[in-house]
Symmetry: C2
Subunit: 193 residues, 2 copies
């Protein structure tokens, strides 16, 4: 049974498949909908999601969630980044930070893995940076145009090539963590036979 | 089997019990936790919640959710009002509206009712008003100090007595709707016997 990435976002799946391939792991795309709960942390959201989808997946699977956590705004927009992007957008976030010196922010990603009847396993990763003074760049999506990754030489995520962005990407790191762990687990299990 | 209001908020229960009593309906308080999903509407959240709690409640029950929907901010903070209040707060919302002439806003409430194995029934209510220029009053909670109800004579929810606030309250109206419906349903069923 192949490892399934359950997501409605085809682009996310393609990114992940690329990473998995590098580690010699095949993943398949499943777009079954599942409930994302309201919670303070991404980890709680993916634990709940992974348990829900594993019941119907018939094999090992994982879900992923990500968000932008801004220091001066107590972690806002955090787990509700998509909704906040679709309502107040980049302009709203920049307005909230007007006159604010502390522009520290993190993009965080959490992956929840579960097998049918099993206990969920969680992988977390982040990309530390800050919020730019104004939007820069046309690439990426969501808050990418206002996020400057540490070490990114003043480029926002929206100004980077996909290859460069993936070097910093919170999601890339979390997906890599689950894939590497899965490969290790599988080889341990087959070693025991 | 008494009608149960499932909420972790004792204050919400007391308000509801008062309303139910006026209609000759007894309600009981149950504080079992349940998952609130992420959704664009309060109605989706309470449908999911009511179905989840009814499975363990052993009898008829309802859950409630509320939020502040600001016109110029495309419905922000909406279903995520609690998180937004705890992060950017009233000050953040006022900052987002700086220079904005359209200050229309609504407090909305949705109640989801369900019986074990039954289909959920939803009741919605709202209170139309606008966002004040600055916080006024010390009463209430959440966004009450910046919400001016239409017909409220320039008082925010935080400046009203509980009695007056309940006259306008979105939650009061939604709870009253479920209680009246429940009473009607019960009398129809007993009439059929």
């Amino acid at each position: 049974m192949a490892l399934a990435f359950v997501t409605s976002n085809k682009h996310k799946f393609e990114e992940a498949a690329e990473i998995a391939k590098r580690h010699g792991v095949d993943i398949v795309h499943r777009a079954v909908p599942y409930a994302e709960i309201q919670a303070d942390t991404l980890e709680e959201i993916v634990i709940h999601g992974a348990q829900e989808v594993s019941a119907s997946a018939g094999g090992p699977c994982f879900v992923e969630d990500a968000g932008l956590f801004i220091d001066a705004l107590k972690g806002f927009p955090g787990p509700y980044s998509k909704f906040v992007f679709l309502t107040i957008g980049n302009a709203g976030v920049l307005k909230l930070l007007e006159g604010e010196k502390n522009r520290k922010a993190e993009f965080r990603s959490a992956v929840g893995y579960c097998e049918p009847g099993g206990k969920p396993v969680v992988f977390s990763a982040k990309c530390v940076g800050k919020i730019s003074a104004e939007p820069q760049g046309k690439g990426g999506f969501g808050f990418d145009p206002i996020f400057l990754s540490d070490g990114g030489e003043g480029k926002t995520f929206a100004e980077m090539t996909t290859e460069l962005k993936n070097k910093f990407s919170h999601r890339g790191k979390a997906v890599e963590a689950v894939v590497k762990w899965y490969k290790e687990e599988k080889s341990l299990k087959s070693g025991k036979k």
